[in-house]
Amino acid sequence: MKITIQAFGKIEEIIGDSDCTLNSGDTVKALYNQLAIQFPALANMMYAVAINNKIANPSSEIKEGDSIALLPPFSGG
């Protein structure tokens, strides 16, 4: 299944408006792995994943039609 991703901060600069293809029932962990392959710059980055506007944990499942957001920590003040 193809999922659309909304990215913030530096991640948005790296992936832009890209989509990502996952298998139905894949977890957030699988999404991290898939993105690391698709965008090597993300491989060592730390960021939170939200499913349908709710921060998820690595074992959360992603379903067809879910909206995904990627949020890195910001440091500036």
Binding site: A48, I55, S75, G76, G77
Partner: protein, 366 residues
């Protein structure tokens, strides 16, 4: 209380006389008097918050002025907390201030936080953010958080007691990012209005908490984009697996610098006061990796200048045979430079000055 002064706020249905009295009775601790801290401090002072603590160990720099609007050119090289205090006292004589011209560390954080109702995170580094988060969890204080990057800002209210305790910074980001993974304002640039807007959202959350308004940003993080004005709110569930120091002892002995990847095993960090000792040794090369624009206040005696922006192409001029000591403003770039140098010249023992030139300032305050 001078009701005439606050008439417009009192007339607002969400504040009223009761709300204005609550503001006067409230105390807030603003950690960081930079891009976010300036609007937060200005508007909470003007709004008549009773007591405000200002924490910042940095001096005002020329490059701060376009966004840190409390300061003028006359303030350059003076401590930010002290400069802010001078201006804010004039702005509203009703407010009591406490000034802490120092970097908040886990040695003093609990003692300072306990004296305030609400803590406001206007810092620009991860170690201090985790220190503040954990201190607020231990002392039971709400933490009004914000941070910026590029054209975006994040705002959230953590650890506030609603029906039950709400999400904390660690529920959003359980562990800090790797060193240098997240660009600073220095590297990625920032337009002054962004921290202005984000800081005002932060100040608004503080006023909402004090006056007991609904819709406080708890269990949520707001992300605001300056270029298209879009905002998103993501829900943050509490993560029961998250670990953090829970007691005074655990908190004080926790190594936040190491946790935030600010220590590297290949690079030994030494304190500023060890420099004199090392200067007596022969065969030690001292290197300042600050940019030339940062050297306006004077070069360091006995240091070779190799700016970080040209470090890899110019490090061949360092010619160290046994030991090399690196310094910068805060100890971050010098650590990176020392690591790069070590990779190329593995027989040289490298040192980085912990907290850089800021350590020198800190010693002056203790």
């Amino acid at each position: 209380m001078n009701f005439d002064k606050y008439q417009r706020q009192i007339a607002h249905k969400k504040i009223g006389v009761n709300g204005q009295i609550k503001l006067k009775e409230a105390s807030v601790l603003v950690v960081g008097a930079g891009g976010l801290g300036c609007p937060v401090l200005t508007y909470l002072t003007a709004a008549g918050v009773g007591k405000i603590g200002i924490v910042d160990g940095d001096d005002v720099e020329l490059s701060n002025l376009p966004r840190q609007v409390l300061y003028s050119e006359q303030d350059i090289d003076k401590n930010k907390a002290k400069c802010a205090l001078r201006y804010l006292k004039e702005l509203n004589g009703d407010v009591k201030f406490q000034c802490f011209p120092m970097h908040l560390d886990n040695e003093f954080a609990l003692e300072i936080v306990i004296d305030y109702d609400i803590v406001i995170d206007c810092t620009d580094d991860f170690a201090t953010r985790y220190i503040l988060n954990d201190a607020c969890c231990i002392m039971g204080r709400p933490l009004v958080y914000a941070a910026i990057s590029g054209d975006e800002g994040q705002v959230a209210v953590f650890n506030i007691l609603a029906k039950e305790l709400t999400a904390t910074y660690r529920d959003l980001f359980p562990v800090p990012p790797q060193n240098d993974e997240v660009p600073t304002c220095e590297q990625s640039g920032v337009v002054g209005v962004l921290p202005g807007i984000i800081g005002l959202i932060q100040a608004n959350e503080v006023i909402k908490i004090i006056t007991e308004q609904k819709d406080v940003l708890m269990n949520q993080v707001l992300i605001f984009n300056l270029s298209n004005y879009q905002s998103h709110i993501l829900e943050i569930p509490r993560n029961m697996d998250v670990k953090r120091p829970n007691t005074f002892e655990e908190f004080k002995s926790f190594n936040y610098a190491k946790f935030c990847n600010r220590e590297d095993d290949a690079v030994e960090e030494i304190d500023f006061f060890n420099l004199e000792e090392m200067k007596k040794e022969s065969n030690v090369v001292f290197v300042d990796v600050r940019e030339e624009s940062e050297l306006a206040s004077g070069k360091l005696e006995g240091f070779l200048v190799v700016p970080m922006s040209r470090f890899e192409s110019e490090m061949k001029f360092i010619r160290a045979t046994t030991k090399a000591v690196f310094i910068c403003k805060s100890g971050s770039r010098s650590r990176k430079a020392a690591k790069i140098y070590k990779e190329k010249y593995s027989n040289v023992v490298v040192y980085s000055i912990r907290n850089g030139l800021e350590e020198k300032q800190k010693q002056m305050y203790h």
